[in-house]
Symmetry: C2
Subunit: 255 residues, 2 copies
DNA sequence: ATCAATGTTCATCACGATTGAACGAAGGGG
DNA sequence: CCCCTTCGTTCAATCGTGATGAACATTGAT
């Protein structure tokens, strides 16, 4: 994976600048130059290039991430089979349960929230666009359970198992065991492992479509506050989630 | 505005490739190379660079836009003052009216849908991430009404007034007149000008915050199907929208 | 008015992006 | 089964171009 130097350095630098802008928030050219240890004039040319393509905007001296990114991000999502067929199911689940329902896709060993729908009683929690580790939430664990074990090891090596709450699984073999039971049951649970006060049920969605289909694994979930999410309720929701997942898989094969 | 050649060509080429991928959808390296008339190996290096930064992903031979774009897009939105304070109002408007409520921001003479909320009866219509002309919808017209006339002319010159329905305003002076009355009333209407069957009311939101505030103009709206959106209903909704807009403006000054 | 900080332009040079050629792998057709 | 095409990938050589420092322009602060 560690391809040495056969990339285009100028392009990479431009993208690095874009990334820095995401971290820094709105910033002046000099601030970014300082942050990245680059000459002011170099920064100037890069920003001009990025601005010309609307990836950044300059507003009286401050540079900001441009809306082209939002536009492209949504095109990226619209190209996903899981999204195109899964969206309706997410809407449906949230409406039926009143809770928050979420769709995730795996990419490079991370999980990305791709779409969500808030039911009437749902926790107010914005997800879309977030990048998550796969080990600390139901969606991610459901994804891991569908990946070949070697790949799982790779991912855990590369991404680690950072702890976000006292309940996060940080031990590799514990996680492996959990993954095995998830694979058997077809659903994954999360009781405050990623966020205190939040519990989830999730099921993986695999794209078996042939040809040039997007083979990546996704997942769909229902999430709610611990107060409402007793063990019984979670169990009761589980079949709904896995049904939805199955339906999505079927529909993806259909086309 | 036509800055000649002082940009970084490699970076620009990489970004062009990203753009091409957005247009083509999932594609092989050769397809993109053909499309842009570039050598296969050149394409290779660019794609490798973009992939290394997760702006594209390669899935058995096919390249796709990467989820990093979605991630960055949402960071871009989260940096917007209008979004941070306007989001809640959009949620509120949609809940109260049962319709679709939308938030827009102007950038480079276009309007970008930044956030939306669907009320219980709302039309199913996904907006977030879309780029719109400013002349053919209520949000855009509300924005135009807040911009200095010279700027409006520039924008109309650069972006034109394409027709999307028979009701679209394609005549410059008609639009100017409309804009004047919008400025007086404080709200803009759209009766099937951008999409047949869809009507909207919108009001502009201006950021008067000092310091390094994002001075751009935004707008908030309510949209619904023509069937439900009689003239009377639109008129009745107008004050709600402009109230919301005012509240957002006030809150933005507050910080 | 002076000074510091930042944005912007210019000319120079060394490095690196592009290019064509060539190899390896995969897939299809005869 | 082998040939042939197509595509992805690597390599070496060159020409072009991005980085750099210096200098000028602009702004705001003291």
């Amino acid at each position: 994976m560690v391809d040495e130097q056969k990339r285009i350095q100028s392009s990479e630098r431009s993208l690095t600048i874009l990334g820095a802008l995401a971290v820094l928030g709105p910033a002046t050219a000099s601030e970014i130059a300082d942050h990245l240890d680059l000459a002011r004039n170099t920064m100037h040319y890069h920003l001009k290039t990025l601005a010309h393509q609307s990836y950044v905007v300059e507003i009286d001296g401050q540079y900001r991430l441009g809306m082209r990114l939002l536009n492209m991000g949504h095109r990226a999502v619209e190209n996903l089979d899981v999204y195109r067929v899964g969206k309706a199911k997410v809407d449906e689940l949230s409406r039926q349960t009143g809770e928050l329902s979420i769709l995730m896709i795996e990419e490079n060993g991370y999980g990305y929230y791709v779409y969500d729908a808030h039911g009437d009683d749902a926790v107010r929690f914005d997800t879309v666009g977030r990048r998550k580790h796969l080990h600390d939430n139901a969606l991610g664990k459901a994804v891991l359970a569908q990946l070949p074990p070697e790949r799982v090891n790779e991912i855990l090596d590369e991404r680690g198992l950072p702890e976000t709450t006292p309940h996060t699984i940080t031990d590799r073999s514990t996680l492996k065991a959990e993954i095995d039971t998830i694979r058997e049951r077809g659903v994954a649970f999360d009781r405050e492992e990623q966020l205190e006060g939040l519990c989830c049920v999730a099921a993986a969605v695999e794209n078996r479509g042939d040809a040039g289909a997007d083979r990546r694994v996704g997942a769909i979930s229902i999430a709610g506050p611990t107060s409402r999410m007793s063990d019984e309720r979670l169990e009761a929701l589980a079949p709904r989630v896995s049904d939805a997942a199955n339906l999505i898989e079927l529909e993806m094969q259909g086309y």
